[in-house]
């Protein structure tokens, strides 16, 4: 699923990162193989906050749409 569709509390393993935001996302640790946890969602359909490698990274839905991930139980 896309990262933009995940729910709060989900832990996901990233499968692929695309788009022209790829370099920026990867520099923050959002890259294939890494595990992220969706921590918060901002109000009014805003950005989501994920925790990856100990850091909290915020991104808008349109950036999160470029991240393919699968849920880890």
């Amino acid at each position: 699923m896309k990262l933009s569709e995940a729910n709060i509390g989900d832990t996901l393993r990233i499968v692929a990162v695309g788009g022209d935001v790829r370099a920026r996302l990867e520099s923050m640790g959002i890259c294939a193989g890494n595990t992220v946890r969706v921590e918060r969602k901002a109000p009014l359909n805003g950005a989501i906050l994920v925790r990856v490698g100990g850091a909290a990274v915020a991104m808008r839905k349109d950036a999160a749409r470029f991240v393919e991930a699968e849920v880890e139980i």
């Binding site: 990867e26 901002a42 359909n45 805003g46 925790r51 950036a63």
Partner: protein
């Protein structure tokens, strides 16, 4: 002559390494490490889709360092991977430096496992500084024991941090003499052991044996995110909104409030400068009038006008720096993004925009630290719509003189209308010129205390930059104003008289105001002086009209005047700040553009005031039409009749 390190290496039996290759995941900072080791300037970037050879550089030591494009060459999924795999197969004698991001240890070790088992390798953990800052811990000695390889932890951007690794690698260069045997032996051993685990003597660099990944896990602790009480409040919608509003109010009051420290500082400055002016007047009592005016109004006045910005600027800057360093601004930006995105802004931009109510120049300078440069340009362009505090005395003077009963309503209209106009224009711009990218990606750091030393350093830097970059322009502007308002066109000193250049120019441009019903040259001269400093308008008007401003305007003209004054060209100091932030051409465009906008607004206001009945009816009709259009919504694609949702004509057939 052999170096000590090389002698030691040779005696320990460590085999030389002429070829060094960097491998690892793309996010591990491989290329940064490569640049640090070789002094190169290779650009870090996205290799994907580009078939490249391995970048390599020859060092002074004679060694060659390679930056391999793939990861570990294990799965040849892409051209880059194939290159890396071919290289590893072709160079069994090379020393492989496995760059692993400290944020990604588990994955990095797993990926490097095969390489660690089949080639000489050392492990370098990168982003070590950030890892520590986030609360992670790495026991290098324990990691070395677990992996049975040499381990380094570096910040690839810090030369000092990379030095131990560099020295280790350079010490392995094939010694010029005597060590040749060691070099040759290394190459032979490497060739023999190409597909098998590497065996050698008791080397400090590369011990034998398979790395124990399970034990390696125990050698480090990943940083855990911290959530405290404050975070619980800041990430709650109501808490965030309240905190953001409170912070803006606090910053605004501290910088622009009447009884704030900044105001006190300004009063102090004013006092000091009047003393200076008084002393100068006394000292120059025998000098010609123009010289006295030059020193007192020109030089001293000019210096004061530059320094007078500092209390407000530094206070606002203090707040901004503290907010950004502490991590509060990131949280506000995150929580408010949903709201502001629709307007084409973000929380940070709003902060600067709102500061425009205090001072346009200061607000423009406050956009400096915005990361999104495109949004910064847009924010600065929007600032002239937000009425700075220097305009307020003029509003009050004119409203009091002409229609005092309408004061609350008109002031609300001006202030809120300005912000509304800025938001609308921002939304429009974001669909056309400044299209929004999906680039809102930022790290929300843990909340941390801000060091006083850091704040002071930032403030001093800000003050210095302001005085140097903007101060010069303000001085020039003040000098120009002094010259124009005190000298006639024949360059004779006339003092502040009606035949000064400023007055004559003002008389010349008064035709522009005829469509507003304003024909009095005293108004146009006052407005002209407002381009230099908005505060000057009230004073000039009072001086030229002898105090009776009410006689100057009919209500309709006053309305037009207010509309023009609210929107026209910001003061030249503000334009100087705008120029510093977004460039000379754009600043000139702002100056000319806002003058035109002000004129149009003034004409429209005058027309509205004269034909208010018709205009109100037309506006009401326009609202009804707009509402109808919005309600109509989209037309259904299937049947062309209904409004989407429950289409009765799915697939062209009635359901």
């Amino acid at each position: 002559m052999k170096s000590d390190a090389a002698c030691r290496a040779a005696s320990e039996g460590v085999l030389a390494a002429d070829t060094v290759a960097l491998v690892g995941f793309p996010n591990a900072g491989k290329t940064t490490l490569f640049n640090a080791l070789t002094g190169a300037e290779e650009r870090t970037g996205n290799w994907h889709g580009v078939t490249v050879a391995a970048a390599s550089r020859r060092l002074e030591t004679g060694q060659r360092v390679y930056d391999l494009p793939g990861i570990y060459g294990t799965a040849a999924t892409s051209p880059e991977e194939k290159i890396t795999r071919d290289f590893i197969n072709a160079h069994p004698e090379a020393l492989y430096v496995c760059a692993i991001s400290a944020h990604d240890v588990a994955r990095g070790l797993k990926g490097a496992e095969k390489l660690l088992k089949s080639r000489r390798a050392v492990v370098v953990f990168t982003f070590y500084d950030e890892f520590l800052r986030r609360g992670g811990r790495l026991d290098t000695a324990a990691m070395e024991r677990a992996l049975k390889r040499k381990v380094f932890a570096v910040d690839a951007n810090d030369k000092k941090s990379v030095k131990p690794l560099a020295e280790f690698l350079f010490a392995l260069r094939a010694p010029a003499d005597g060590g040749e045997k060691a070099g040759a032996a290394g190459r032979n051993a490497g060739a023999r052991g190409a597909e098998k685990p590497f065996f050698g003597g008791s080397f400090s660099g590369y011990a034998q044996g398979a790395p124990d990944l399970a034990a390696a896990q125990g050698a480090y602790t990943a940083p855990a995110g911290k959530t405290g009480m404050l975070d619980k409040a800041l990430f709650h919608p109501v808490g965030a909104a309240a905190a953001f509003a409170l912070t803006i109010a606090l910053a605004f009051y501290a910088a622009f409030g009447a009884y704030s420290p900044a105001a006190a500082l300004l009063a102090l400055l004013k006092g000091a400068f009047s003393l200076l002016e008084g002393a100068a007047e006394r000292a120059l009592s025998a000098a010609p009038a123009w010289l006295v005016s030059l020193i007192c109004d020109g030089v001293i006045g000019g210096a004061f006008s530059v320094l007078s910005f500092l209390p407000q600027l530094l206070t606002l800057f203090l707040f901004l720096t503290a907010l950004e360093e502490s991590g509060l601004m990131a949280r506000f930006a995150f929580m408010s993004d949903g709201f502001f995105e629709k307007l084409g802004l973000n929380g940070r931009a709003f902060f600067s925009l709102f500061s425009g109510y205090g001072c346009t120049a200061v607000a423009a300078l406050s956009t400096r630290s915005m990361e999104d440069k495109s949004l910064q340009k847009k924010t600065v362009l929007l600032l002239p719509f937000v009425s700075c505090s220097a305009r307020l005395p003029v509003y009050v003077t004119v409203i009091n003189a002409v229609f005092p009963f309408a004061k609350p309503m008109l002031l609300a209209l001006i202030y809120l209308g300005g912000l509304a106009a800025a938001c609308l224009i921002s939304a429009a711009l974001s669909k056309t010129v400044y299209r929004q990218k999906a680039q809102f990606i930022m790290e929300i750091p843990d909340l941390r205390r801000v060091g006083a030393k850091k704040l002071v350093k930032a403030l001093l830097y800000c003050a210095k930059q302001f005085i140097i970059r903007v101060g010069g322009v303000i001085l020039a502007v003040t000098a120009a104003l002094w010259f124009l308002s005190n000298f006639s066109f024949s360059l004779a000193y006339v003092g502040a008289a009606e035949n000064s250049m400023l007055c004559l120019i003002g008389k010349g441009i008064k035709v522009l105001f005829y469509p507003m019903g304003i024909t009095d040259w005293r108004v146009s001269v006052s407005l002209l002086s407002g381009i230099f400093a908005k505060e000057a308008v009230a004073g000039t008007l009072a001086m030229l009209c002898g105090g009776d401003i009410g006689a100057l305007f009919t209500p309709a003209q006053a309305l037009a005047f207010l509309a023009f004054f609210a929107l026209y060209t910001p003061c030249l100091s503000a334009l100087a700040a705008v120029r510093r932030e977004i460039g000379r051409k754009r600043a000139a465009a702002v100056g000319a553009g806002m003058f035109a906008v002000g004129l149009l607004a003034g004409y429209a206001a005058y027309f509205f005031a004269l034909h208010s009945a018709w205009c109100t009816a037309a506006a009401a009709a326009g609202c009804v039409v707009a509402a109808a259009l919005l309600m109509k919504g989209k037309t259904c694609k299937n049947c062309g009749k209904c409004h989407g949702g429950n289409c009765k004509y799915k697939n062209g057939r009635r359901r």
